[in-house]
């Protein structure tokens, strides 16, 4: 079974802090994704990566950056956290071929105070 592991289930940080969310997958997937999920808005794509050191912006990249130094690991970075970044963050991975299903982690609920 594919396993996508997010480093924390719950995280509380303060405004202005630099925040790192980590995601690791064990299926040798080329693609990795970061989403945020908010009530009434569904899942929105922040960034994705289709290869090591490669990244592309999703629908809402503002205020975020990402890092993919190794194939199995994809990090989401909040350079200076703000309260409007309080949300559930979901990581996913998939094979590179088009239309491959994405496999999700169980999410990190991040609160910015």
């Amino acid at each position: 079974d594919v396993k996508v592991t997010q480093s924390s289930r719950y995280l509380v940080k303060r405004t202005g802090e630099k925040v790192f969310l980590e995601c690791v997958q064990d299926m040798d997937h080329e693609n990795m994704f970061w989403y945020r999920q908010d009530p009434g808005l569904g899942l929105r794509l922040i960034y994705f990566s289709y290869d090591v050191k490669m990244k592309e912006k999703g629908d809402i990249p503002e205020g975020y950056s990402v890092s993919r130094e190794k194939k199995e690991r994809f990090s989401l970075i909040l350079e200076s956290a703000s309260t409007n970044q309080t949300s559930m963050y979901l990581c996913a991975s998939s094979f590179f071929r088009p239309n491959q299903p994405q496999h999700f982690g169980d999410g990190t609920r991040l609160s910015i105070l």
């Binding site: 996508v4 693609n31 994704f33 989403y35 009434g40 808005l41 569904g42 899942l43 929105r44 794509l45 994705f48 289709y50 592309e56 999703g58 979901l90 990581c91 996913a92 998939s94 088009p98 239309n99 299903p101 994405q102 496999h103 999700f104 982690g105 169980d106 999410g107």
Partner: protein, 109 residues
């Protein structure tokens, strides 16, 4: 980008068949339609995917008409454990993925 529209919520009794329809008027030629299920405090889980006509697996069926502007997820004989949010996803490549807002299905006895 192909956006999707789904009903916000649906209610059903246990043992009934449930059909959830997703509208995607701007679907592109290369786009597939994928459905996910999400339980509280978990990430979405892949249910089924299709391009046209009908696809069936052990969990659900997916009906796609010829114009592909909509699709219907069919859950046969639902149980309480099928209570979840169901997302319709349209896209061919990662950069074109668009999640709908999801349909909250509530199954009761």
């Amino acid at each position: 980008l192909a956006k999707t529209t789904q009903p916000i919520s649906m209610d059903s009794y246990e043992g009934q068949e449930v059909n959830i329809t997703c509208s995607h008027n701007n679907i592109a030629t290369n786009d597939y339609i994928t459905w996910y299920q999400q339980f509280p405090s978990q990430g979405p889980r892949f249910i089924i995917q299709g391009y046209k006509t009908k696809v069936t697996n052990e969990v659900a069926s997916l009906f796609i008409p010829a114009d592909r502007k909509s699709s219907t997820l069919s859950l046969p004989r639902v149980s309480l454990s099928d209570t979840a949010v169901y997302y319709c996803l349209v896209g061919g490549t990662a950069s074109k993925l668009t999640f709908g807002t999801g349909t909250r299905l509530q199954v009761t006895l």
